[in-house]
Amino acid sequence: MDVVLQQFINGVTVGGFYALIALGYTMVYGVLKLINFAHGDLCILAAFIGLTVLTSGLGGANAGALLLAAAFIVAAVAVGIAGAVLEFTAYRPLRKAHRLSAVVSALGASMLIENGIMLIWSPQVQVFPANLLPDLTWKIGSASISFVQVMIIAGSLILMAALYFYVHHTRFGTAIRAAAIDQDAARLMGINVNRVIASVFVVGPALGAVGGLFVGLYYREAYFNMGWIYGLNAFIAAIIGGIGNIPGAMLGGLLLGLFNAFAAGYVSSSWQEAITFALLIAILLVRPTGILGERVAEKI
């Protein structure tokens, strides 16, 4: 029973950052029908920026709450700006082109960011020092939950709740949803669709940046090409929940985290990714629109 509880805690932690990263994929897909292949790399860029802020601030001692907050804010703002620049330079000119042109542009952007990280921070694995965060653990029965896990679970739940509120209960959030349903109609209603798209490319990467920094703090390492695999996992989470659907991405992230945690107990780690992708293919075949995606008649 306690093993189950422990796996549940680990699964929710991993699910938390998958969900945060997945939100960026799903928001962009919802509005532009584009798989932003650079999103995973943007999120991992945040881990590097955050690490630089954290290590530059204090030598040796625990990072204080203030420094930790600064790291998250700097990472989120920088990556949010990077997302906006990317949208403006690489995607906006291609909005009227064949949709695969934008996909290739996204693949190029991914390559650019990944190798940019390598050039700035070196190809070596960057280790997060052990003393960055307080070394606290709480016991729940015989299962335990660490400070970093509490931070990730709480942080991702708060951010998801905030995003949900923003998208469903504000005027601009309504504009985002309207643009996702029908861009032309939204434009006719006086919505500035360009601004909506730009904002999606700021908010998505900024949330993903927090997720990426969580990844770094949790595994205590970051390497330049890890964006692909976290990006793919988060993307799978978005599909599981129903791509384009914001609550779906949250649900998908948590489910994928739990699935990974429990599968890890039964299959060897060398097969874990294969299991994830097998799950993905199975879901695509049975219900391609995901759990919360609406069953729409195929657009022709």
Binding site: K33, I35, T89, A90, P93, L94, A97, H98, R99, L100, S101, A102, V103, V104, S105, L107, G108, A109, S110, M111, L112, I113, E114, N115, G116, M118, L119, W228, L232, F235, I236, I239, I243, S270, W271, E273, A274, F277, A278, L280, I281, L284, L285, P288, E298, I300
Partner: protein, 314 residues
Amino acid sequence: MVAPRPTALGRARRALGPAFWLLGLLVPVLLGGSWISILAIFAIYAIVALSQDIVLGRAGMYDMGHAVYFGVGAYVTAILNTRLGWPIFATWPIAIVVAALVGVVLSAGIVKLRGDYLLVATIGFNIIFVLALGNNVADVTGGPDGIFGIGVPQLFGTALSSQGALFYLDWLALAAVLLLMRNLERSRIGRVFRYLKEDELAATTLGIDARYYKILAFAIGAGVAGAAGTLFAVQLASVSPGSFVFTESVTLFAIVLVGGQASIPGVLLGTALMFVVPQVFRGLAQYRYFAFGIAMIVVMVLRPQGIWPRGRAR
């Protein structure tokens, strides 16, 4: 059907392909050792890229796992040659058939999926395939290190051991695939692919079995990629999972889009940009992919149809 009278420009264009190929025959005579193998690799990847184009550019299916079929061909040759001692040329047809069968089996389940969903499923196949190779499934793939010591092809008692001989083998295979592409373009099957890509609903209302032709596109594309796999295994004398990872599929996908969908010169140009240009800038290795990323964005923004798009349908 009466063919329209070719114009002077049209004739010149038509002569461009054969001229390019004939010029290639001079490579082993004029260029040094490392260039021969670079251009041999170019020929092999050109075949794979053309096979990717059959599925992606011609039949319009977003296949981002094409390295799987290339890898199947390479591993079939490697396993049959090193474990069972088969001559290379005897493994070639098997590699083609097995790769095509893998293409049929994998695609049969997923061709019903729409655009992006198909793309994601094929990524999944690629990742599972590479994990299976690395985990040494059935104890024949050699794990993460792969398989070494693949033999030299023998033709009528002569060993094709020199780089030049292997280059000619690859170059001849490329010619065969170019002819296949040309015939495909003019055949009923090629027209059906194009129709399915442009308007699947209209095609099905005319009685075209979309599912059958989509699987057929995968079978042909996978078979051609498998043929290139054999050449690749021979060229390197070894195979390992790293050559068939998902990022290789991404590169193949990008080649077709950057060069020009369903455009033979476009795909060849794309292959040259992705595989030959990096060799020229080897000294700048660490900046190479950074620059590639920028180049991919710039090309798409300036020429969304690709550098050398397909001409108007004749």
